[in-house]
Each structure stands twice: as structure tokens, then as C-alpha cells.
Symmetry: C2
Subunit: 460 residues, 2 copies
């Protein structure tokens, strides 16, 4: 079929206004928040599952790549159409279809922005726990397709733990439903879990049934300073293996602390090699108990420990943590933060060693690495800034990222704990998964025999 015929067909499915092939618009859809680029041939904004199904059928019959896109906040190129074709902008499907408090669930379209869901739930005293840094923008469909998480996952788990069921459009346009509103079932393979985290390579997620939780009554924060990141790593091992479950457990290293302070000198953070931020939520009594248990566990390792005395101080500490992304890129006006090699995860026990290794690699290549992240999950964000106009800087960055990735894998870790594989990290899948990658490819070929769904992603 000619390109003009494809365009006409797409227009007849979604209406003229909801499809575009203008260069300016295509350019807007050629990137996400990573360095990956790829220009689509068409951008289509479906309004219903039925439209998505028809578009998929058209793509299937004409071997056109089909890349679903939420808000484009991804850090691995997952939503970038690296082989061209159709980008499906799902952001118009943004209805919260049902808030069902009796069953503790919501039923949503995939284009709902994460924060909008929590705004809708807040008056009822409930919330949807996954909290990626992009929660003000990202869509639930993107969150599910990437199995996103964030600061709270050390207690609340990842998005996967909240997906009870999905509506998915398969490569040939078939619409299936996985899971249900029943909290426990062992009927059939867990197709829900297969689609969660599959980054649009197996099907297009159009609707979801999601679990919600009651908002905890209280929360409190403890801030512990350490002489050397390794000590901080050891404190995390000690706290978690004591059976304490904080609702957040974050690390900021010396470089990040300095970046935050230079970004906003009013922020009061201790001068230390590393800071751990612990949050505990629950009832008033359990929060008090939890904070004291963490204080005890850290006491022999930390140089200083202080609990936030009130809500104001607690909010200030979290505001500092949230500044990290912006602060990193402000450290040197000539350099730009790039998201490469930034999301490794390691077993908790390996954290002290991994933090040391990152410092060694930084020194060896003379490239500052700012380490922060969800250390309670073993997830370290290693932030690096380069002059993006200098090829030499890119070469160095890629070498450093490669070393970080291989070091994480060598201690039983992962190249991406939460940001996704996309195109950015697919080269490591064989190394990390071994023969498991072959099983992935078997499944990919079975569900998408023509390879039209988000091609060039996840190594399949």
C-alpha cells in the first residue's frame, strides 16, 4: 500500500484531526527523554480500543512498525520509533472509568497521567503507590509497559504489583483481556505479568485494572550522614536485614549534595560523603517505632543522624531529593546531564562494593559521577554530565557506562532496575539473561510474528 493510502486509511479510522504526517509534528515524536532518536512516518492519536485495534490490523496487513507512546518521559528510547512507521500517541485515552473502593481498585484507560489518578483518589483516602520521578507527566500505560517504580518501591513494590488485569491489543488487532477484578486467581499463565514490562513489544496496553491502597495516616523522615559511601551501603544492608520496611530509602552522595546546594543554597543538607534518607509510613505508633529502629540500626555506622522534627522539615528534605534531576544538570553550565548507564541495580549485600566500584571507575576515567537513587532496592542512579558537542566526551561516557553495566552484572545485578531497556540497553540482554533471551525471542515471535510491535527494542 502507498504511503498516501496508509494515511487515508488512518484518517478513516481516527478522523483527519487525529493523524499527522507533517514533518514538524513527526519531529516532536522522534525522541523521548533519552538520547535515542527515530522519526515516524505517521503519528496517530486513537480515542478508543476499537480504533487501536483497527490501526494494528492495518499495520499488520501492511508490515508497518507500530510504536505505542504514553507521555514520552522514558529514559531508554522505548517510545521512539527507531524503525519509523506509526507512532500511537495514547494520551487521548485518558478516562478514569471506575473508582471501586469496595474492591480497592480502579479501572482506567492507559493515557491517564499518573498524578491525575492520585488526585482523583486522594479525597477518598486512597492512592496508587508507584511513584516514578515523572509521575506528574507519565501515563499509566507507559508506567505499566515499563514496570516503572520509584522511591516507594522498597516498601510498596513496583507497578507490576498493582496491575490486576489489562486490556491489550495484539499485533493483528485482536483485543484480549488478562486478569480480572478478583484479587487471587491461578487460572492460566500470568499474561498480565507478561505484558507488564514488555515495553510495547508484545501488545498495546489500552486499559488496566489497578489495585489501590489506603493513604497511610502518618509518615516521618530520618536523615543519616556517613563518612564514605560504603558505610552508607552497609547501613542499608543492616536496616533492611533487621526486618524494618521503610517506605523510602534513598542515597545522595557528596557530588549530589554539592549540586543540590549550588542549585539552591537555602537547602540545609549535612556536609557528608553520603546521606541516607529514610521514610517510614503507617500509623502514628508504628512510624515512631520504625524511625527508632532505623536510628538504632544506623547508630554504629553513621557520623550523624537526625529525624525531621515536623512536617515542614520533612517536606524540605524531600524537596531537596526531588531537586536532584535539575541540580545535576546545573553543576557545570557547559555540560549536559545524559541518561546513559544511569540505572543499575545490585543485590542489597553488594551495595557497599558497588558504591566503591563506581567511585573507582569515576576516578579512572576522570569523569565525575553523581550517585543517588533508591538504594533500598539496590537501585543506584549514576548521573553523568558531558559536553554533548564533544565526540571524545561521548566516547568516555560510553566506556564508563559500559564498565558500570558490566560491574553490576558481574555481582548478580541488572543494567536497569526501573528505567527500561528500550534501544538504549538492549545490547546487554544476552549478557544479563543468558539463554533466557532465547525464550523471550520465542515468545516475541509467537505473539508478533511479523515483528511490527515496537521493533528495535528489548533485544527481541
Amino acid at each position: 500500500m502507498q504511503k498516501s493510502d496508509i494515511l487515508e486509511n488512518l484518517q478513516s479510522i481516527v478522523g483527519d484531526d487525529m493523524v499527522s504526517s507533517s514533518a514538524a509534528e513527526l519531529y516532536c515524536y522522534s525522541c523521548d527523554a533519552s538520547q535515542i532518536r527515530g522519526v515516524p512516518d505517521f503519528v496517530v492519536r486513537p480515542s478508543s480500543t476499537d480504533e487501536v485495534s483497527k490501526i494494528a490490523r492495518l499495520a499488520f496487513d501492511n508490515d508497518i512498525p507500530l510504536t505505542p507512546r504514553g507521555a514520552g518521559t522514558g529514559l531508554a528510547g522505548g517510545a521512539v520509533p527507531v524503525e519509523g512507521g506509526i507512532v500511537l500517541d495514547m494520551s487521548s485515552m485518558k478516562r478514569i472509568l471506575e473508582i471501586d473502593l469496595d474492591n480497592l481498585l480502579v479501572f482506567v484507560e492507559c493515557g491517564v497521567v499518573q498524578e491525575k489518578l492520585n488526585e482523583a483518589l486522594e479525597p477518598y483516602g486512597f492512592f496508587f503507590p508507584p511513584d516514578p520521578g515523572s509521575s506528574a507527566m507519565c501515563t499509566l500505560g507507559g508506567l505499566i509497559a515499563n514496570n516503572g517504580s520509584g522511591m516507594r518501591s522498597v516498601k510498596y513494590g513496583t507497578t507490576r504489583n498493582y496491575v490486576m488485569g489489562l486490556e491489550v491489543v495484539l499485533a493483528d488487532g485482536t483485543i484480549i483481556n488478562t486478569g480480572s477484578k478478583t484479587s487471587k486467581s491461578v487460572v492460566g499463565y500470568s499474561l498480565t505479568d507478561l505484558f507488564v514490562g514488555s515495553e510495547g513489544t508484545l501488545g498495546i496496553i489500552t486499559r488496566a485494572i489497578l489495585k489501590i491502597k489506603a493513604i497511610p495516616k502518618e509518615r516521618s523522615v530520618l536523615l543519616a550522614s556517613f563518612e564514605g559511601p560504603e558505610l552508607a551501603g552497609r547501613a542499608v544492608v543492616k536496616v533492611l536485614s533487621s526486618g524494618i520496611v521503610p517506605s523510602a530509602c534513598e542515597i545522595l552522595d557528596r557530588n549530589i549534595i554539592e549540586a543540590i546546594k549550588s542549585y539552591d543554597p537555602n537547602i540545609s543538607l549535612p556536609d557528608a560523603d553520603a546521606i541516607l534518607l529514610f521514610e517510614v509510613d503507617g500509623t502514628e505508633n508504628s512510624v515512631k517505632e520504625g524511625i527508632e529502629m532505623i536510628r538504632d540500626a544506623c547508630s554504629s555506622l553513621a557520623s550523624n543522624i537526625r529525624a525531621a522534627s515536623d512536617k515542614k522539615e520533612r517536606d524540605e528534605i524531600w524537596a531537596a531529593r526531588r531537586l536532584v534531576g535539575a541540580a545535576v544538570s546545573r553543576l557545570d553550565p557547559l555540560r549536559t546531564r545524559v541518561y546513559v548507564g544511569e540505572d543499575v541495580g545490585v543485590p542489597i549485600k553488594e551495595l557497599p562494593g558497588m558504591l566503591n566500584k563506581v567511585n573507582e571507575i569515576s576516578k579512572e576515567y576522570d569523569l565525575p559521577i553523581m550517585t543517588y537513587g533508591h538504594i533500598g532496592d539496590g537501585n543506584l542512579h549514576t548521573g553523568m554530565c558531558i559536553d554533548v558537542l564533544e565526540d571524545g566526551d561521548w566516547d568516555k561516557l560510553n566506556l564508563v557506562a559500559d564498565r558500570i553495566h558490566r560491574t553490576a552484572i558481574s555481582v548478580g545485578g541488572t543494567v536497569t532496575a526501573e528505567h527500561g531497556v528500550g534501544s538504549a540497553r538492549s545490547e546487554y540482554l544476552g549478557l544479563e539473561l543468558g539463554k533466557g533471551l532465547n525464550v523471550m525471542i520465542l515468545i516475541k515471535n509467537a505473539l508478533d510474528p511479523k515483528g511490527i510491535l515496537n521493533p528495535g527494542k528489548m533485544g527481541v
Copy 2:
């Protein structure tokens, strides 16, 4: 290959003592705890993953059905070789390879009995939460393959939530590893979740990395009585939608209460149409708070509420709950408890209606139904007894089970919340899963193209 050649090959892999084709031994492996029967041609007891791999390769090359078996405690025929071939008795692979408290995990062989793992963890103050009724006998491999759960899942989730990684032997003998010791990773499709609950139809689970939890310091029990099971169902909705998370939430109906009392007259249970048992665990303060919140939530619906005053009373109440299985079969000495139609689950909100429906069906067919189970998950065990020598009784039972299954599906529920599909419930998969069943079949064919892995199960 001749049968005698297969036997010789198997002997050369595992040794003469670890393979059998004697009629007496084959008979022992022809059943599990369900009504399903099927006699194997060989029973093999491998001692290592390498042996499992070689056996799979032999089976693959010769198109021999291969049915893995843990302790044979399943209630759906999952471990019964309905098409003959080789039964793989995995119970010899029973080493706990590593208890890693720093990473809050254990690394085990699949033949470890669930209770043995908890006995090994108890001195360290940790436990593995899933707790099926068969925990004193069932193996971890069986538990994982069935995604088993039990009373604690209302708080702690199912086995799936504790499996971090698996070693799996595929149909052709290939050994793969899924997941890792890292708590969070988004690298690749979640193959771990695909194998969990796949009942041996996609691969043979040989080893597992499992999460463990700290044993809660306190636990307490509250017992609420209701005039009519529907009121009990409404109380469950009210408690859970208040955001309270009990560590168990069980129902016993009038028939079950009478059965328990006739089994052991010393047991003190209230005379009621239905009883709810709530357990709360955690710290001393949080347990007190939780019990009082449940008391408040139930107060307008229950005819009587009492908290266990001490550990002795608490243990007595749970002992009564544990007697259910034995008590049901003692109700009428001429009748036998059969596990058919016994494991539906429904959305929490549908519980009151479902409890009413079960009573109506019982009256319509004049077949007593004893209802108990994990009502906090929407999971109802509907226990029925028949004269197993009477064809008419079987016919009636099957009609009643069919009505219960279809009623559960019609309200968005499931035909099996935790016991498994096996051969017993595979006829309902199309009805419950719709086109999702086709996706299961695509995956099954991709991973097991010759269909040798546990054939005749799960509708694939």
C-alpha cells in the same frame, strides 16, 4: 525407541535405584489429592538439574510425556500423568542451598518441603509467607508451579510475590535462569512470572530464589459471628475497604461450624450462620490498633464479636480452622469429601451475593455445601461430600460444581483462586479467559513445540 531402551537410558542418567517401572510403584504415582487418575510408564527421581536436563532431552527426542511432581498434594490433577510417560519425582532435590539474610532471600532446590524451609528460617527470625493447607508436605517447586497461597495471602500475597528467580529446564533440556537476587529489575519479559503458576506445562522448575520476611513480633485474633452469611460478606467488604490489612480473614459457615463441633465437641465456637476469623500481625501497637479498627468496622453487622484474650485462645481458634478439612469428611460416615468445584474466587464486592448463590444452589440440588476459606481474597472453599460409589451422586455433584463455577465467572470471578487448573478445571479456561487462552496456546507451542510437558493440563 523401545520401552526397555528408554528404561535403560533413564537408568544410565539417574542410576538404577532412582527409576522404576514396576506396576506397584507406578500406581502410587497415578494420583494426587484430586479425583484425577493416570498411570505413568516410568517414575524417575532425579538428584540434580543436570539429570533433569538429560531426562528432558531424552523425552524430547522420543516424544515422551514428562510430568513433574512435588509431593502430590495438588487438588486438580496437576501432577497426574494423564497421558502416561515419565513422572519426574522431584522430592530428592531437597537442599536449602543458601540462607542469605543480608539480601533477605533463600536459594533452594525445588524439592524442599515448605515447612522445612520455615523451620530452617525460624531461628533467624524470618519466614517464607505463603501457607497452603498442605505446607507440612508440599514442595516449594509444586507451590511455585501452582502459585499456591493460603490464609496469609490477604496480607502477604501469593507465592508469585516471593519468587525472585528460577532455574528452569525447558522441554528440550536447555537450562535457563530467570530473575536474580536483585530486588528490582526491568530487564526483559518477566519469565519468572510466566513459569510461576504454569503447572509444569512450560518447563520444569529445579531451583528458586525466594524472598523472605521478618517474623512479626505480635499477632492477635478476632472472631465475629453473623446471622446469615451475606452479613459476613458485607463485613469483609467493609473491613478491607477501610484500608485495614488483616494477616488472615477466614469464613466458616453454619455447616462447617457444626462439622467441627461434631469432630471435636471440646472446641468452643459460637453458634452462628457464619463466623469470620480475623488475624492481625505486626508490632504490639499496630496489632492493637488493627484489632480495634476491625471491631469497629464489624460492629453494626455482627451479632457477636470477641477477641482472643491470650495466645492459648488464639491457638485454639486456629486449631479449629485447621480441622476443617478433616471435619468436613467426618460429617457423614457414608459420604466422602471430594475436591470438585471447591475453589472459586470472586471480587470482594461480590462476596455477599456469591454466598447467597451458593446457598441457593445447595438447596436447589439438595446437596449440603460447607463453605469456608480465605474470604479476604474473595476465595471460597465450597466443600461437598457424596457417596462416591453412587453414579447419581457424582452427576449431582458435577452439576452443582458447574453451577458454582459459572456463577463465579458471571460476576467477574475465577474457577480457581489457589488450587490450580490441572485436568480438573481446564474445560472452563475458554469461558474465563476468552481469547487470552489463544495467547496461552501460542506461548505453550513456542516453548514446548512437541507438547511433551505435562500434557492434558491447563487447556493448552
